[in-house]
Symmetry: C2
């Protein structure tokens, strides 16, 4: 890793913190520079616009999710593999809550930005494909007898995940984890019934 | 309706348009005044802060949803009643898409505003109760044999709804309606299996 990449990662980490703690509106080049302890010019070197800053933050969060996904033990039963994979995205601890806040800010911003919407649509499509593959594996194992349309089920899994993130982020902190686990298990329980 | 209330409704409508079309960041007192064709002082008379402006926009959208919900024919089969009710919230036409955009902007803003988070949590709780009642009616009709925990199912319904809104808003316009209907029907189909 070069010194420049390290500095970039440090600035990106500051972007994530500012968005998660103070919201997208607070995430200006100036507040990010202050949070990262670098000059405004250095932030502008990495991000030419606010959209680019938000897109980079989301990409960073997505990449970390992909990295964690690669560590999931695929040798287990497909239902358990799927559960482990989905839990990586739910705000069950502080780090995932920060990432979830960044995702939500990004999703909201993508509604009025065609560039961000394209990234959101592509990421959603990738996740649906990844979920559909896990569902196909479950069908091959004879574990999902009644599911035929894995694409639609994958879209529903993504919807459940996104919707639970939103309810989870506004739920009182002490109710969050049990609520998220119980809801996800109820959906998977019926899917794998 | 007094003249003042009409003027307030006109300003509120401008708030919704600005948030839906240009995002939350663009929704300043000044842009709202310009969009509504009123003075800055008039906008400030209705909203003392940005949070109040966003909260009012969301309340307006919620009230319109409640009004539409009151028009749903409750004499049908609970499954159909539930489907009709849920479709009121999906972005299946321009008006609902505008409302959905306002909801998403509000949800993202509520993550970093305790005042907005309280409104979001209360609204989510109300919706979960309303959905749970519809599910109870379906159970009473013998239409939901395998569901026992209607609270959890109601939370899942809300999650599916919120998640589909997000995927729907970023999907290409021509795919949106068929995607939303097919996904919702798949969830209800399994729920009522």
């Amino acid at each position: 890793m070069t010194g420049e990449r390290r500095r970039g990662a440090h600035v990106l980490d500051a972007v994530l913190d500012v968005i998660a703690e103070r919201g997208l509106e607070a995430a200006t080049m100036r507040t990010v520079a202050a949070a990262a302890g670098v000059s405004l010019a250095q932030v502008q070197y990495y991000f030419r616009s606010k959209d680019e800053l938000v897109a980079s933050a989301f990409r960073h969060v997505s990449e970390r999710f992909d990295e964690k996904l690669a560590t999931v033990d695929l040798s287990g039963r497909p239902r358990e593999v799927l559960r482990d994979a989905l839990q990586l995205w739910l705000p069950l601890d502080d780090e995932r809550a920060r990432d979830a806040r960044v995702w939500l800010a990004f999703s909201a911003a993508s509604v009025t930005s065609p560039a961000l919407a394209a990234i959101a649509a592509a990421t959603d499509a990738e996740l649906r494909i990844a979920f559909a593959r896990l569902l196909d594996a479950a069908i091959a194992d004879g574990d999902l007898a009644e599911v035929t349309d894995t694409e639609t089920e994958a879209a529903l899994l993504l919807a459940v995940l996104d919707g639970l993130v939103i309810q989870g982020l506004t739920a009182p902190a002490e109710q969050r984890a049990p609520f998220l686990r119980q809801s996800l298990d109820a959906h998977l329980g019926r899917l794998f019934a």
